[in-house]
């Protein structure tokens, strides 16, 4: 399947490439999913469902035709744009996205909602396009496309709250996109090129771009959109959402900021702070959202740690995270679908009727908690090892704490509150078959990667000879997990565990959701008051002017009425006198 790169030919953006071997033409990797999405928009339900499964497979098959170094460029609007640039990093992410699309596609089969299915396909396609974008402008296109397509998954819930939430989500992502655009402009001005390569922090462009990516990547204080929007989406939508947006951002970070030290600290903060929110959060999908930020923290940290193990760890963890986080979201989605509830305080005891879902959820929980033999273990430890190796002891400790925290809220809390805990009395049906299949595949992958990590390692951007299963790692991780579990049990039994709050947690979200609209409203009110004040003032002035003018010039006014003859004569005489005086003085001077 290897292409002869020397003879590769491309025609414009449509990427027709001649290959030897069985494949005669390859499409741009994003196209299968995007085309499928467009077709699905018009297709009848059956075909649509087929597309949901087949499009990722077709895409993956198409993708496999590319190898590192493939490049497609086209001139558009006066710019030489690199539509496609294949290397290992992008390839891995693309593969991951196809996998995620497949899983989500299977998971979505029970649904008839055209909007979600179409949006899901387009969304996945955009993510694939984004990772292959060779320059910042193309990246921007797909970056925004990600936002537009994904927001439908939130709106698809068709509730006022989710509509609002979706709008906020869109605003944040368009802000990110605009920043990316500005960053691209700066990059072009500073470096004369738009090619998206690793850059050093320092130039204005690099900071703006970091901010743009940071928004999508949920940097601390920029993270609120995630916990706001993901729980608002449909059960299906969240599964899609969890897979693409943030991972694209991690990709962009790995591409552009590999080895930037600030990222280590940012990542550390991201890994830590969500834990506290997650503990007190009631909405289980929001809990997962916080845990997602926490996991991304590991990835960001890994990227910050730089080439080799750090980036490898970040990428591998991203890969795993998509699968196990997807699995967890899928299980919560199943719960939501069957019970219509998602708050921890309203659930419990579901294992009785949804045993399979419960089991699969446990696999996901084990993975995210990095139990040995589960996928989380083989990637998370890479980052931590690298941190320790590079001498960031504080970071290492923080990550350790974060690991414990993850286990606490994602590993224990989610399955415990949903499926066990006190019996809520709910007796829902087991999840639909397609969901279970999707979850099953995901679980299988979790275990498979956990057991045979080398397959994954082979795909990583840097050559690696990392071995997760040495005694130190395993023992250390198990100690951590057991003590963490002990703490949970103790807290639960003593009743100190913080109760789930029924309200919505607003952290820095407050700025976006309360302060910004209020500020706008106040601004508008103040501006309006000033404006109308000025208008009213002007109107008053005008009124005065008008009445003066009218008083003077209207037919009854001094200047508007015909004067008596004598008056004009008087003026004539006066003018004559004045003129005489004037010329007399003028000539006298």
């Amino acid at each position: 399947m290897a292409a002869t790169e020397t003879h590769a030919q491309y025609v414009m953006g449509e990427t027709v490439r001649l290959l030897d071997g069985p494949l005669q033409a390859l499409l741009h990797p994003a196209l299968p999913l995007l085309v499928a999405g467009v077709v699905a928009a018009l297709a009848p339900p059956r075909l649509r469902k087929a597309l949901l499964v087949l499009a990722p497979l077709w895409g993956a098959w198409n993708l496999l035709g590319f190898t590192s170094g493939d490049l497609v460029s086209a001139e558009l609007a006066g710019f030489e744009l690199i539509l496609l640039r294949v290397d290992k990093l992008a390839f891995l992410f693309a593969l991951l996205f196809h996998l995620a699309a497949l899983l989500a596609g299977i998971y979505a089969l029970h649904s008839d909602d055209r909007m979600q299915q179409v949006a899901g396909l387009l969304y996945a396609g955009s993510a694939v396009g984004a990772v292959f974008a060779g320059d910042l402008l193309v990246l921007f296109f797909f970056w925004e496309l990600l936002a537009i397509t994904s927001v439908f998954l939130i709106w698809a819930r068709r509730e006022t709250a989710s509509t609002r939430s979706g709008l906020r989500y869109l605003l944040v992502h368009i802000a990110s996109g605009v920043l990316l655009l500005i960053g691209a402009a700066l990059h072009w001005i500073e470096f004369g090129t738009l090619v998206f390569e690793r850059m050093d922090l320092g130039s204005a462009a690099s900071w703006v771009l970091l901010l743009a990516i940071g928004i999508k990547c949920c940097f601390p204080l920029l993270h609120t959109w995630l916990v706001d929007a993901y729980p608002a989406a449909t059960e299906l939508g969240t599964v899609y959402l969890a897979s693409f947006t943030t991972k694209t951002a991690v990709y962009a970070l790995a591409r552009g900021y590999e080895g930037c030290e600030p990222l280590i600290w940012i990542g550390m903060a991201m890994a830590m702070f969500p834990i506290f929110y997650a503990v007190i959060e009631n909405d289980l999908r929001r809990v997962l959202g916080y845990s997602m930020i926490n996991q991304i923290g590991f990835m960001v940290c890994g990227v910050g740690l730089g080439a080799g193990l750090g980036v490898n760890g970040a990428v591998a963890h991203a890969f795993n995270d998509v699968i196990f986080k997807g699995l967890l979201f899928m299980s919560m989605g199943a719960v939501l679908l069957r019970t219509g509830r998602i708050n921890g305080s309203e659930l419990g005891g579901l294992y009785k009727t949804m045993p399979q879902t419960a089991g699969l959820c446990m696999v996901g929980a084990a993975s995210i908690s990095a139990f040995p033999l589960f996928s989380g273990f083989v990637s998370k430890s890479m980052v931590m090892t690298e941190a320790a190796h590079e001498g960031y002891v504080v970071v290492w400790l923080a990550l350790l704490f974060a690991s414990a925290g993850v286990f606490h809220h994602a590993g224990i809390k989610i399955p415990f509150f949903a499926f066990f805990a006190h019996d809520s009395g709910l007796r829902p049906k087991e999840a639909p078959l397609n969901m279970r299949v999707a979850m099953g595949i995901a679980a299988l992958l979790c275990i498979a990667i956990g057991c045979f990590p080398n397959a994954l390692y082979a795909l990583l951007p840097y050559a690696t000879d990392y071995h997760p299963y040495d005694t130190t790692h395993v023992v250390q991780q198990l100690q951590l997990l057991f003590f963490s579990a002990l703490a949970f049990v103790t807290l639960m039994l003593t009743g100190i565990y913080p109760p789930e709050l029924r309200s919505t947690n607003l952290d820095v979200d407050w700025f976006a959701r309360r302060a910004a609209p209020r500020t706008l409203r106040v601004l508008a009110a103040v501006g309006g008051a000033i404006w109308y004040g000025v208008l009213a003032g002007l109107a008053d002035v005008l009124k005065v002017v008008r009445s003066v003018v009218r008083w003077l010039h209207s037919p009854a006014g001094r200047l508007g009425e015909p004067w008596p003859t004598g008056t004009t004569v008087f003026w004539a005489a006066t003018l004559l006198g004045l003129l005489l005086l004037f010329s007399y003085l003028g000539s006298a001077l």
Binding site: E75, L76, A77, G78, L137, F140, F141, F142, E144, L145, A147, I148, W155, R158, E159, T160, T163, L167, L170, L171, I174, A175, G177, V178, L179, L181, I182, A184, A185, L186, W188, I189, L520, L523, A524, G527, G528
Partner: protein
């Protein structure tokens, strides 16, 4: 007769001048034909048919000029001496050609839409309407092809006069009041400031000809900036605050007029004039130099930024759809003014492109607003809940148009936003960059809620309820708006003709 012969001989003596004449005169001919068929022959179908046929011919004529212009020719037509030293002269250069193309092509689309709208709405005085419509387009093309400031001013005013009967079409008290505002502001700014600026320019340079690279080089910076301000406000059609008031007022007009006013002819004539003055009277380099040397050199930029932001914030609070779109237009026009005021070649190109992309996007939105009015009899956004399910094409097109206005790929608006941001960054005008970014977000805030409202979940079952009686507008309305929505997409993937034509238009002498 010999005079006519001489005129004809002159007309075709220079290459391209015949086409210019045709491009200008065809709309006038259309007006005559419409008057003839409407008032004399009294046949609405013939009349409307004539509009379309002449419209297509006019667009074809303008498109015919693309070849020569893109190969570097500048066809010119000296019509006659307007005053000693000032001539009624037309020169086709890329920027003007782009504007003329937008005007003439969208005229056809708007005409078709207007048939649907006016008939669907049983409007009166349709002949007068289409007659003035044609004259307005002719005036817009005249503005586009004007070879000097005087000619431009002449057609600029003709545009004001010819659109006045359109704005006040209903001849109601409200229309009359709006007409006063419309006319008062446009005329007072143009006569009070624009004309003054033109005369001043003439006095300074002894000419009013548009020349690549400008004619004002060597003028003192303070004078240049003062002139810029005079032009900025003098061209009231560019709707810089607070000269924008005419624009929301003009909303009393029938919707096709609003589409024409706010997307194609009037407002674009305004920003086009600003852009043309900056690039071909000041010269971007001259202006840049002046702005850097004067303390308040950026004053037009401040005003532009203020206009963008405050118009957007006001738009957020409008419940009437057309008013909201009008304020959106004010903000978007200020983009173009900013693109000109930044005085960089790239920004000018972005601004020129924005003339095209905004025209296509905004005309879609106005078409949709009209279609909603025809199909659902609704004007207030708060009453539009759920109508999207009944008129999916209209609201779908509205969504596409909105995204284009916001500047999102894969829609045309993204390109112009990119050009503007790139140009502003290059010039180091961070205020402009920040404003454009903020405006993108604000435009999400005022445009998408309309779509969301339209596609809000239905309450109380599918049948009956609020959206009873709502249906898609007539085909003649829906097809044009789908077409322009499609154009938004096409122009994203294929902006190259415009960008190629415009590349370097703002540069120095070739």
């Amino acid at each position: 007769m010999s005079a006519v012969g001489t005129l004809l001989a002159e007309l075709f003596a220079e290459p391209g001048s015949g086409w210019i004449a045709a491009g200008l005169l065809l709309p006038v001919g259309a007006a005559l034909l419409v008057a003839l068929l409407g008032w004399v022959a009294r046949s609405a179908n013939l009349r409307d048919g004539a509009t379309v046929v002449v419209g297509v011919a006019s667009a074809a004529t303008v498109l015919r000029l693309w070849g020569p212009v893109s190969s570097g020719e500048r066809p010119r037509w000296l019509l006659w001496s307007f005053a000693p030293g000032g001539h009624l002269e037309f020169v086709v250069e890329p920027l003007g050609l782009v504007f003329a193309t937008v005007a003439s092509v969208l005229w056809v689309v708007t005409s078709v839409y207007a048939f649907g709208y006016m008939r669907g709405h049983h409007e009166e005085h349709q002949t007068r309407f289409f007659c003035c419509f044609a004259i307005a387009i002719g005036a817009a093309i005249g503005v586009a092809f004007a070879g000097n400031l005087l000619t431009l001013f002449l057609f600029y005013e003709l545009l004001t006069f010819s659109t006045f009967p359109l704005v006040t079409h209903h001849q109601t008290t409200a229309a009359r009041r709006a007409g006063r505002v419309y006319f008062g502001i446009l005329l007072s700014t143009s006569v009070g400031l624009f004309l003054l600026a033109i005369v001043w320019t003439w006095w300074l340079t002894g000419t009013t000809d548009f020349r690549p690279g400008g004619i004002l080089a060597g003028t003192s910076p303070g004078v240049l900036v003062a002139l810029l301000l005079l032009y900025g406000y003098g061209i009231g059609k560019a709707a810089l605050m607070p000269a924008h008031l005419w624009l929301p007022a003009a909303m009393v007009a029938p919707t096709p007029v609003s589409a024409l006013l706010h997307a194609v002819a009037v407002v674009k004539a305004g920003v086009f004039s600003v852009l043309k003055v900056v690039t071909m009277i000041f010269g971007v380099d001259t202006l840049r130099g002046a702005m850097d040397r004067v303390a308040w050199g950026d004053v037009l930029i401040w005003i532009g930024c203020f206009t963008v932001l405050s118009a957007s914030i006001v738009a957020l609070r409008q419940d009437n759809l057309k008013r909201r779109l009008a304020y959106s237009t004010i903000g978007q026009l200020a983009y173009i003014v900013l693109g000109a005021a930044v005085a960089s070649q790239i920004a000018a190109q972005g601004a020129a492109l924005h003339i095209v992309t905004h025209a296509v996007g905004k005309i879609t939105l106005f078409f949709c607003a009209g279609a909603i009015y025809v199909g659902a009899h609704k004007t207030e956004i708060s009453t539009m809940r759920g109508i999207g399910w009944r008129m999916p094409f209209t609201m779908g097109a509205f969504f596409v148009g909105s995204l284009s206005i916001i500047g999102l790929p894969p829609l045309a608006g993204a390109w112009s936003k990119w050009g503007l941001i790139l140009g502003a960054s290059q010039a180091g005008e961070w205020l402009v960059v920040a404003t454009l970014a903020a405006s993108s977000l604000l435009s999400v805030g005022y445009l998408l809620p309309v779509v969301l409202q339209a596609f809000a979940p239905r309450q109380g079952g599918a049948a009956g309820g609020e959206d009873a009686g709502v249906q898609e507008a007539p085909l003649l309305c829906v097809v044009p708006l789908c077409l322009t929505a499609l154009l938004c997409v096409v122009l994203f993937f294929w902006p190259t003709p415009f960008t190629d034509l415009l590349s370097g238009f703002a540069g120095g002498p070739p």
